[in-house]
């Protein structure tokens, strides 16, 4: 049984650095997804660096997005930092702020600063809405921070009454909770698909989200969570509070032939666009097969090779079927950086339906992943730069770097979702395979 091989490597609330940063980062990532917002970090300067990193992850526009920091020092830890927070909020009146998120770090929350009360008291004095987000790092990892921030957004920015429902409309949730380095490509693909099926995206929580989009959230007919790592809490809240149904909930995200086909079919069914979905599937599959044929890749060079996946659940769970079914590798280890219950259940269903029996580690930190790799000794690893270094002494010859962190600069947002995404993945693997094959320092040790 797959479940007997599942290990929970850590308590869910832990921060799994360097795979995952703390909740402050996740919350900042989410807040910075709102166009033209101001994120005020009530934190020491060190924690504020995470807000800068989140700025980069969201590709936020520096001409219209502001980040501020209260730069707490010992004085504020000893005497409390509510005063400096209040002053900073009031001073922001002189800036062009449309919406302000106040995110908090560990220090002020530990010493008991009442951020909620400060925001509530100052709201009448400022013209922009204030959204306090209690996301101190001790509350959990970045995925937890995303959940906290999404909940705060729904609480403060989405009206309680939904008004009318827009037919065939969707709210997209947590596209940024994805270690796929080109997650914006995935989001763009999903938007294209929805447009082709005649659906309207009323809001995206959160990437380049206009502040006025929050008003439209309750009008959505359905929601799509674009991550298996975070966002489920927000989807549950949308369903409970506004009756917005979650679509494709039990399906792995569209990576690989089968997952993409199932996901498109389900979406087509929901939107009454079955024919559109079938057309996309037929065209997409033909494109991938044809492209692989022309490049001489009809036969997978990875055939029946023992492999490990070390990734976030968003990429890791759907990747399992792509590898096992389409590329015919033998998955011996699945190491996930998060442990959301829904994703876990989905992974177990996938394992059972594929008839494979990998060891599963969830909530893995680098140590747990390295230890598991040392025990499983696969011939290749689908992971990140971290694994590339971690396996050096284990003698595992191939590491395909497909998820963050990567030491590759990208200008173009290509996807992993969908058919072009599949080609993108194959391309990444192929390049890493060739890199190793050509290495003068590391001898070619795989069996092919």
């Amino acid at each position: 049984m797959a479940t007997e091989r599942v290990t929970n490597a850590a308590a869910a609330a832990r921060c799994h650095d360097p795979y995952l940063r703390c909740a402050l980062y996740g919350a900042a990532q989410t807040a910075l997804g709102v166009r033209g917002c101001c994120v005020l970090s009530h934190s020491p300067q060190g924690c504020f660096q995470l807000v800068d990193a989140a700025f980069g992850w969201q590709d936020a526009d520096y001409t219209e997005t502001l980040t501020l920091c209260t730069k707490l020092c010992e004085d504020e830890i000893v005497h409390g930092g509510e005063g400096v927070l209040a002053r900073t909020i009031l001073e922001a009146r002189e800036l062009d702020v449309r919406l302000m998120f106040v995110v908090t770090a560990c220090g002020p929350e530990i010493v008991g600063d009442d951020i909620m009360a400060v925001c509530q008291d100052l709201q009448p004095e400022v013209e922009f809405p204030l959204v306090p987000i209690l996301c101190a790092g001790f509350r959990g990892d970045q995925n937890r921070g995303i959940e906290i921030a999404l909940e705060a957004m729904l609480e403060h920015l989405v009206p309680e009454e939904g008004g009318f429902r827009v037919p065939r409309s969707v709210c997209l949730v947590a596209p940024h909770a994805n270690s796929n380095p080109t997650w914006m490509g995935d989001l763009a693909w999903v938007r294209e698909v929805l447009a082709a099926m005649g659906a309207t995206v009323v809001a995206t929580l959160a990437h380049d989200t206009a502040p006025e989009d929050f008003e439209k959230v309750p009008m959505a007919e359905g929601c799509l969570v674009l991550s298996h790592d975070a966002g489920q809490g927000a989807a549950d809240l949308l369903a409970e509070r506004y009756g917005v149904e979650q679509w494709c909930r039990d399906l792995p995200l569209p990576i690989g032939f089968s997952n993409t086909a199932s996901w498109l079919r389900e979406l087509g069914r929901r939107l009454g666009a079955e024919a559109v979905a079938e057309g996309m599937i037929a065209r997409g599959e033909a494109t991938v097969v044809e492209r692989c044929r022309r490049k001489g890749l009809e036969q997978s060079p990875l055939h029946r090779t023992p492999a490990a996946i070390v990734a976030d659940a968003t990429v890791g769970v759907p990747l399992l079927r792509f590898l096992a079914e389409d590329l015919e590798v033998v998955p011996t280890l699945v190491c996930l950086r998060s442990g959301q219950a829904d994703a876990q259940a989905m992974l177990e269903r996938e394992i059972a339906s594929l008839g494979v029996s990998p060891t599963v580690i969830r909530d893995a930190d680098v140590y747990a992943a390295k230890k598991a790799l040392g025990e499983a000794r696969p011939e290749m690893v689908f992971g990140s730069n971290v694994e590339r270094h971690a396996v050096e002494e284990l003698g595992i010859p191939f590491v395909f770097r497909i998820v963050n962190p990567l030491s590759r600069f990208r200008m173009v947002d290509r996807a992993y979702f969908g058919y072009e995404g599949m080609l993108n993945l194959i391309e990444v693997m192929r390049n890493d395979w060739l890199d190793r094959y050509r290495s003068r320092h590391r001898r070619y040790r795989a069996r092919w």
């Binding site: 010992e74 004085d75 000893v78 005497h79 010493v111 008991g112 600063d113």
Partner: protein, 288 residues
């Protein structure tokens, strides 16, 4: 230099005992510094004629607001001469309900250390008067950082004072393993049932691996001096109460014992100990 810390339940009389001890040490010709480690900043009040002196953290804050740091603080800003030449320092701390007082106490102590306060004044005895219970790691800092070497637990005959003292002993056990710091004894501050309290506190001290050093008798004179903002040794130097503090000071100076305490682990055991002493006095026809 002797570094003495007085810990105990809030309101039990730590400041009164500390201030009178300071005066008693001073009478013996020792250089004494009393450091109040309590945001209430009232430890040294009876040494300064009822005046509240500026605190270290307040002074630091003023400097920070001017864009300076702690290097702008001098000893004259934070060490004040009290009655009889006892040097008085108050750490200060935040308003109730905000900030972290523990961190504040540590900051203040660090500033004293950085300014070499004890060496500068040729201090023979430092008395730390430390807020109530060890409520968080911050209040354990005087022990952890090696400021306080001899820990005394101040108790009365009330059960909750024993409970608090036992908790403090747990903190001391954790922190004293690493250094020269240790539990030096229990001091009684009588609530009026001296015989019962003496017996109870001896038993309690024994249970936690130390001994009862002395008991300060209950006296309206001590209370009256407190209200007047004076120490007993200044206000009524010839009273038996003043002698009691002198005796306590003598005992403390003579006491070289430092132990890693063996606190009572379960509250039920502590209750049992208390009840057994209570029953004994009830049987003897005395009602404590």
């Amino acid at each position: 230099m002797r570094q003495i810390a007085i810990y105990g339940k809030g309101g039990i009389g730590k400041s009164t005992v500390a201030s009178n001890l300071s005066m008693a040490f001073r009478e013996r010709g020792l250089e004494v510094m009393q450091v109040g480690c309590d945001p209430k900043r009232d430890s040294t009040r009876t040494l300064t004629g009822g005046r509240m002196i500026p605190t270290v953290l307040e002074t630091l804050r003023d400097q920070l607001r001017l864009g300076r740091d702690q290097s702008a603080i001098s000893l004259e800003d934070i060490v004040f001469a009290g009655e009889g030449g006892v040097r008085c320092v108050e750490s200060g701390g935040p308003e109730p309900g905000v900030g972290c007082a523990g961190r504040g106490v540590l900051t203040a102590l660090q500033i004293l250390k950085d300014l070499k306060a004890f060496d500068t004044y040729g201090t023979d005895v430092v008395i730390y008067d430390i807020l109530g219970d060890v409520v968080c790691g911050g209040f354990a800092q005087p022990i952890r950082e090696g400021f306080a070497r001899e820990i005394y637990l101040l108790c009365s005959g009330a059960f909750m004072s024993l409970y608090a003292a036992n908790n403090i002993a747990k903190g001391v056990r954790r922190l004293s393993r690493r250094g020269e710091t240790g539990l030096a004894g229990v001091i009684g501050n009588s609530g009026g049932q001296e015989e019962f309290e003496r017996d109870l506190l001896s038993q309690f001290a024994q249970a936690i691996g130390t001994s009862l050093i002395d008991v300060i008798p209950f006296s309206p004179v001590i209370r009256a001096c407190e209200v007047k903002g004076r120490t007993v040794l200044q206000h009524s130097p010839n009273s038996p109460e003043a002698d009691a503090f002198r005796h306590l000071a003598e005992m403390l100076l003579a006491n070289q014992s430092r132990v890693i305490p063996t606190p009572v682990e379960e509250v039920e055991d502590l209750e049992r100990l208390y009840r057994s002493r209570l029953d004994l006095y009830a049987a003897a026809g005395e009602s404590p």
